[in-house]
């Protein structure tokens, strides 16, 4: 007998098992970056179809923020826009630290080589959503001479900027709005790519050479390099080395933005390196001679770098805020991968989120960015204007 029900979307039964919670949102713009502001709010940066960048501050749905025991009366599963605005120049990176998000955006004209890091201050009044443009205003701006820089923040004080094409870095003290110093890291092979920064602790920053994956540790207060190590020298990740392979770095210090961090006073940071060819290398910073875990996830990034943002094709790697041996990876395709990286022998896939593909009706898309919200909960965005908040059940995969 022919079935007469409306066809339900494929895979919906799987979703019922794997996820404790799943919310999918459809945006006007492609969201390129997500940053957590506080347990209730995220800030997203999207590329509007007019070419402008739009920054939105969104209240997370109660279904996500309210504890499950109060579930019955939890009202909504929608995102609410609290404030937003169009930026003048393209935004490359947003980092959030305790009520002052830093948006890093260069001047849009090609002739100009100024890079400006803008301090956007946020009113702490939560009560009313206000008119767009009111709250997010340019609080201050700093200029440095890098175009399309990378940015990393520690606490509220220091911002470290690196250039895309040179191995230079600049440290700026935000409290007094002055450049503390500028350094150049000598390169042996004269690589063209720059460094990507990531703070390891309040005073120590890791700088990753995007070409080779070498890491330099910089004491930010003293302004000098103290250590360096290179996976290439340790013969890691060198198999199948391809020219044009680029590396990105993240430390578990960055996960402090999420909810669970506050409770654990974790000092021993882990550092993760991921490459566009799918290599994943994890170090424990107490001993950088050997890697804790080395793996190849078997995927490569397919995206071509877009002209106005050469950083866009780097994959995104994040540490779980609660479980230091869990790492999430995105940017290769339409999935977000969660791996167990406790050691090379035990490396395995814990979970794969494929909602972005389902939402687009099986049309190929790519995950642009993701962040951890709290234990087992991730917020990810894809280039088909989707944004998902999902709480997975570990080991749900057969």
């Amino acid at each position: 007998m022919q079935s007469y029900c409306l066809r339900s979307p494929p895979g919906i039964s799987l979703q019922e098992i794997e996820y404790k919670q799943l919310q999918m949102f459809d945006f006007e713009n492609v969201i390129q970056q997500i940053e957590l502001i506080d347990p209730r709010t995220v800030c997203v940066v999207g590329k509007h179809k007019s070419g402008r960048c739009e920054i939105l501050e969104l209240s997370l749905p109660e279904k996500l923020t309210v504890a499950p025991c109060n579930e019955g009366l939890v009202k909504n599963s929608d995102l609410k826009m609290r404030s937003g605005g169009f930026t003048i120049a393209p935004v490359f990176q947003v980092n959030y630290e305790n009520y002052s998000p830093q948006a890093c955006s260069p001047s849009s004209s090609l002739a100009d080589t100024e890079g400006t890091a803008e301090n956007r201050d946020r009113d702490t009044d939560h009560a009313q959503p206000t008119a767009e443009g009111d709250l997010i205003t340019r609080f201050g701006s700093l200029t440095c001479e890098f175009v399309t820089p990378h940015l990393a923040l520690n606490g509220q004080e220091l911002v470290l900027l690196t250039a895309a094409t040179q191995r230079d870095l600049v440290v700026i003290d935000l409290t007094v709005n002055t450049t503390l110093y500028k350094l150049s890291v000598n390169s042996i092979n004269g690589s063209q790519c720059g460094l990507e920064p990531s703070f390891v602790s309040e005073n120590l920053a890791a700088l990753c050479d995007k070409n080779s994956g070498s890491v330099f540790l910089n004491d930010v207060r003293a302004g000098k390099m103290c250590q360096n190590f290179s996976p290439a020298q340790q013969h890691l990740g060198t198999e199948g080395r391809v020219t044009g392979e680029l590396w990105t770095v993240r430390t578990s210090y960055n996960s402090k933005g999420s909810l669970s961090w506050a409770s654990s006073g974790n000092i021993n940071s882990k550092l993760g390196l991921a490459s566009t060819m799918g290599k994943l290398i994890i170090y424990d910073l107490r001993n950088t001679d050997i890697a804790v875990c080395e793996a190849d996830i078997g995927r490569v990034t397919g995206i071509q770098p877009c002209t106005d943002n050469p950083n866009s094709h780097l994959p995104v790697i994040n540490f779980s805020p609660d479980v230091e041996t869990q790492v999430s990876l995105s940017g290769f395709d339409e999935h977000v991968y969660i791996y167990d990286v406790s050691c090379t022998e035990k490396f395995k896939t814990i979970f794969v989120h494929d909602g972005h593909l389902k939402q687009s009706g099986q049309v190929k898309c790519c995950v642009t960015s993701h962040i951890w919200y709290k234990e087992n909960t991730v917020i990810s965005a894809s280039d088909n204007s989707g944004l998902h908040c999902w709480q997975f059940i570990p080991d749900a995969l057969p």
Partner: protein
Amino acid sequence: MPEIKITPLGAGQDVGRSCILLSVGGKNIMLDCGMHMGFNDERRFPDFTYIAPEGPLTSYIDCVIISHFHLDHCGALPYFTEMVGYTGPVYMTHPTKAIAPILLEDMRKVAVERKGESNFFTSQNIKDCMKKVVAVTLHQSVMVDGQLEIKAYYAGHVLGAAMFWIRVGSQSVVYTGDYNMTPDRHLGAAWIDKCRPDLLISESTYATTIRDSKRCRERDFLKKIHECVDRGGKVLIPVFALGRAQELCILLETYWERMNLKVPVYFAVGLTEKANNYYKMFITWTNQKIRKTFVQRNMFDFKHIKPFDKSYIDNPGAMVVFATPGMLHAGLSLQIFKKWAPNENNMVIMPGFCVVGTVGHKVLNGAKKIEFENRQVVEVKMSVQYMSFSAHADAKGIMQLIQYCEPKNVMLVHGEAAKMEFLKEKIKKEFDLECYMPANGETCVVNTSMTIPLDVSLKLLKAEAQKNNSLPPDPKRPRVMHGVLVMKDNSMCLMDVDDACKEAGINRHLVRFTSTLRMEDPGPASKTAEKLLQLIKTRLKDCHVQLTDGSISVESVLVKVEGSEDEQKNVYVSWDNQDEELGSYILGLLKTMGH
């Protein structure tokens, strides 16, 4: 500048009793005539005294347009036509005309018989009111009178909901009513063509919300119900007879089929039976999928959902019941609620908005004990869930609609002020359009530019094209045509002077002025002419200055120097009346040269 005036009497910076007065091109139109479900006194109706202090309003309003059958859009219509007084036409779509009287009658019954109200409209009032209704079809252009034209577009939202396009002369307005831009299981999404109205009046219920995808909400809904019936609990879903009820029924039906569940699902009889019939009748108003499968099987003939009988309330075991009314304020759903609330295994799922004061509202706010008029107290131990399935456009949807129809101005109604403020700014920044959000009783004036269509003679067009092509290409250069506007019969045409004269049957007369200057300038006349030429050339860089046969010519201005060697020179300056300005300028210029 021609204007469009809008005054909301309801739904201006709030939700409920939608009623918007529109004044365009000398015509007055009332958009929607709703009732506020939260008030029990005269505040529930819009304040019609704004239109005229008293008496019938037929002479003040040219027509009334109702967008859909929700009571907050048509609830005050019988009051308006029968008790205040209006005998003009009322326009709505066919499904709305069929369903509205049922809802109005039901509402009237509850108000008068159960609440004991007096001075409410009667059943006869409703019937008389509906006699004034003219039903319209989608995309059909209706002339209300010689100048006023209206057209209905599909709005989604509920069965028969429409967005209306209104035109008077060269001004047009689109009123959306309530709409949604994403298709449902049983209704399609709103659609409009690029009509480029002067003003778009849009609802903004979810102005700052980005809604969770329907699939995720449905997944949640089904999961909760499944969990409850698995542990033997009973699920109560209070719904309004028409609207979300059908959507949720289809959802539950397909899920039960897929999961092969045997737990009984019931649908309260009465209003709901009729409702299903309406959906079957107006199948063309539902979405593509339903129409396609209709041939094999009617979607609204449910296999797993059976009619409910009051005696089933006490049946043991799990079950799911859809019962009316939706806010638990009276009737069967309230009865079931009272019986099931004390059991913590049970669950009630509120699928929509509840007005303040209703039991539904209290329960959603966490009330654990509800007291009724007869001193009966009910303990609420059952699980209370809220799942919003209402079909309204969200922030992205509103922006999409603006993109589709390309209005010149936007007005936001039917929402909360703070959220509308945010959306207003966003619309301004994104589309560079003026956006308004008047409050109730506040008049908003929108200026529209007047465009008058003209014919242009081919000769004039060709001449301008030639001139434009001879100059270096510049897309930003304004293209200007100079001609005579000839109005004949009902047409207006721009043509060049000679053709206009022919058309009008008159001979063209030209007037030429000549002025003579005397100058002291020794030397031959030709030398003087040279000097004058240089002077004119330097001053009039843009003009074409020529010296031919001893005469300088600039456009139609001629300058001729005469006189012998040592004597005074006579400079004759002559020009057409068309080049008056140029002529007098050159004359003045030459005068100064003399010294």
